[in-house]
Symmetry: none
DNA sequence: CATGAATGAGCCTTCATTCAT
DNA sequence: AATGAATGAAGGCTCATTCAT
């Protein structure tokens, strides 16, 4: 990749990152191109040099978010340890990400109204890919006896876990009494209950 | 209340109900006054006879939703039975409502951008009021030994419970293999794990 | 048609008429919605109450123009007289229209860049319908010996006639020495030469 | 002229030629600087090294077109033969040019909206200069009895001739049954009728 | 000389809001 | 009470133009 192309790629990434922040705060319709641009000290017009239109910009920001998340989950699920340990790590990571980035998952709420058919397919594909890693872990954990979930309820359990976590951005405020680490640990503890861990897995830091 | 006023109140309620449906589907910015009006076979202009502006209409629809929810929770929490039993009932109700109404809770997601300071205060007051009922139940359950939650983590546990449930609208599709009742029961079972119920509370239908 | 609908239809017609004028002057891309609106002492937004978008407005203005033209030609071609006499009348009418309305035919120049496939089909259909009346007259005139055109060159002759006339808007200025009637007569005289009339048909006023 | 200046002049000419093509296709407002640049495998910005702005570029392209046309007509009108023969040649040339270049004359249609006063004056001067050659030929032909036009109607006849020809780009499509030469000959035959040639001048190839 | 990048004005379009009837 | 019609303020997007490198 040429120097030029690299620079451009970096700029695009920068824009996407910024877009994620603003979008998480105001949602798709509530976010204007002006909002995204001024957040980066750019002008509206400049955005169109990098992205065809608002839809594409937002779409790519979603894809980036999903890919990053998948990558994270993947690298962890490849570790050589118990499923239950992996799940703990993944959950911690997910929570930390949500808190630091003020999320961006709500945007994914009603994508049907926003994206094209092709874009939707890709988004759904990635979402499933992300979810699959959770499902695999749950399955593994069921097999080795760490989790107590009926096998035909794996998807439901997984969705409840994700829901409990994704909602955090709605109520968490940094002025709490606990430190971030304590907060994450507490959350992890209760979330893990959903999958029916026997022992107290969170003890192992 | 005069007959006229009654009729008007009924119409207002009708509009609010309709607005809730549309808003749940498209969000605040995605919903136009036209959308709300045509859903009721009215014209845009007519809405302004009943509500000062869009903000007020939406605000009142949120208030109505919250009040209704609080009322529900309240009536249940006044029942003469174990906290754990009450919680089960409340959770079932909440889930059923979400599935049937395709929610309306996402709208509450980022209210800061939409409502005035005064309106926000009222919304937050009601939200807390709603949450308080959950907290009370949790507290009660901790006391009588049904739930296993640290007392200073009640709010966290409650938020995780609400999160797990509110997320349902994002992934539930009616074409599942289970019947609605089965589905609700399964959800309830796993959600209750968060509060650390010892026995299997959901057995008692 | 209800009174309301009538009023609306009249307004639409008014807008289309105005649009034709402005479009003839500045072309499709050179004409803004603002131009069309202000020409009618309206605001931009009001236009969108009557027409979906610019394309539709312009499309309908073209259709209106074509239909009117076809109607004119048709009514004349149904008269009970020689083809040559009909042609004279049609040409006179066409020229008078062009001069008074400062045309609108140039817009039709490159429609491919502007209209949708369906719209184009209709426009071409009407154009052909219009041209067909000329062709019929030419054919008739050839048969009865008034015109001297090879039968397989009818279309070419017709297009040259139309071209000679349509160009008038480019060079005619009202400050000429001749009266309008004289002007029209002169044009008619020379244009008719293209179809090879033997005698001087324009003598019959 | 220095080597550098020569090179630059050649580049300018190249740009103007390309611009003419694109402009002919899409008109002034429909053509973007990007269009002109990419047609030459250049970037937008580079154009501004050679031309002050879009207006100047387009203006010069028009001037070039007009000058070239005038030159053509002039060289022919200086030939030592009958006016009628010259006219035939000029008409053939004009038609051939139109068909090959898909014109560029429509751009001239409404120059008032585009060019500055000074630019307009020059354009009109050149247009008249071009037309004058036609007028001279017509006058000559009238004198020697080849054409049958009233002397005070020369301008009208000339404009009709030009109109009939310029319109060709609107309707000619290359998929006709005739060869290009046949096509040109046919057109010439009918166009010449406008000027009232007695014999069949087109026979002399 | 040329390019990539950025700017800003202007246009199309939407939509909350108003108002005469 | 309700409607049709109109307004005006944004917002998305394009494009002529500029400029540092």
């Amino acid at each position: 990749m040429s120097l030029r192309a690299q620079k451009q790629a970096r700029k695009k990434a920068e824009i996407l990152q910024s877009a994620l922040t603003v979008l998480a705060e105001k949602g798709y319709h509530g976010t204007t191109m002006e909002d995204i641009a001024s957040h980066l000290l750019m002008t509206k017009g400049a955005l169109y040099y990098y992205f065809k239109d608002k839809q594409e910009l937002v779409y790519e920001s979603q894809i980036k978010l999903l890919n990053k998340s998948i990558e994270n989950v993947q690298s962890i699920s490849e570790l050589n340890c118990f499923a239950s340990e992996k799940l703990v790590t993944i959950i911690r990571l997910h929570i930390e990400y949500l808190i630091q980035n003020k999320s961006g998952f709500e945007l994914m709420a009603k994508p049907n109204e926003i994206f094209s058919e092709t874009q939707l397919q890709e988004i759904f594909r990635l979402r499933e890919s992300y979810a699959d890693h959770y499902d695999d872990l749950l399955y593994e954990g069921i097999e080795d006896g760490s989790f107590t979930i009926a096998k035909d309820e794996i998807k439901i359990a997984r969705n409840l876990v994700l829901g409990a976590m994704n909602w955090i951005t709605q109520w968490h405020s940094s002025d709490g009494e606990k430190t971030l680490t304590e907060f994450v640990e507490t959350i992890t503890k209760y979330v893990l209950r959903i999958v029916g861990t026997e022992g107290n897995l969170t003890k192992q830091t």
